[in-house]
Amino acid sequence: MTDALAPMRLVTIVAEEVLAPRLVAAVMAAGATGYTTSPASGLGSRGLRSTTLGGENVRVETLVAPAAAERLMAVLARDWFPHYAVVAWVAEVAVVRGEKYGAKLHE
């Protein structure tokens, strides 16, 4: 196996579904090269359902370089957490061919 595994960050964001289009725009603006969304529901400390078809959330995952992950978390903390039901976390993961997601070769 010649492809070494490169370290990356996986940022996962759970938010009200109505926010999805703006959220993925924010993700791309922070420097991501892609994202994956999936349907979710849940309960949090606010417990608000903001639309009639309440309780429906969206889960956005993006594989980004560490710097972009920090940028994204900072944007979320500043612009999104105060207003919306949003939860986000960062995990360290390994990928093959990290360049694809914006990783520098010797990070």
Binding site: E16, L19, R49, S50, T51, L53
Partner: protein
Amino acid sequence: MDFLALAKANLLSPLLLCFALGAVATLVRSDLRFPEPVFNGLSIYLMLSIGLRGGVELGTGEIAHVVGPAGAALALGVAIPLWSYALLRWMRFGVADAAALAAHYGSVSAVTFVAVLAYLDGAGIAYEGFVPALLALMEVPAIVVALVLANMGGAGGAKGAGGGGSMGQALRDAVTGKSVLLLTGGLVIGWLAGPAGYAPVKPVFGDLYRGLLCLFLLELGLLAAARLRDFRRVGAALGAFALVMPVLHAAVGVALARAVGMGVGGAVVLATLAASASYIAAPAAIRLALPQANPSYYLTASLAMTFPFNLVAGIPLYAAMAQWWYS
């Protein structure tokens, strides 16, 4: 039939009883849930069906007659949020919450609209074929007016998260929103296709809509009752607003309808549109553009109070009001 007989027939119609069944299911904590994709599919069907049948009717009538009623509908869509906002501010609601509620009460509920048509059909009262156009016209303006009010009051949306320009964005979203699109699209299709083109699709768009509406109301009953649990968060003042304002708006609607020359059936429809509050389009728009507003207020008021009130008592009342005014 007299008023009481009609009110009773309304109460015992499968439509209302299905709504009640949904509410009961939530209250006894049943595991009954309507699958969301099916609910979304039904919404698309209902909107298209309303538009299509209206469009076919439109083609057989005189289109010039629509101008006055359209103006009346637009006037209601602009005026209702203005006075609702003023009243709610006076009731000590914050800028964002007052604007959010104003948007909901100025906009309209498609299911309430369909329910009033079913009521009129049952009572044998005729109405103008173009009324679906009024429904389409009244969905958006109130949302725009309310957002302008919020901006003027200093509650200007979540600038950062939206990337700026949330007002213009909200307007764009509302106009290209699926309900406006399906209603107007359906009207145009029905008008172009005419009765001959409509005939082969009538088994779906004509014959099924009353029954499918029952399933829709079952789900709305589930959702409305779930909202009722938020009632303590909402308070009696908002409860009074949610039950009194529809009647006032209906009265204005009847008066305007008569002024622009609509028949008594059309007056009942316009009154009901004025009285109804949006619970699908407006919440989504407001949540994005005015995140500071508390969804418990606007959703509980529109979905759990005004909507059932209109279904149960409002529609027969507005019909009686219109008949009294026109006689």
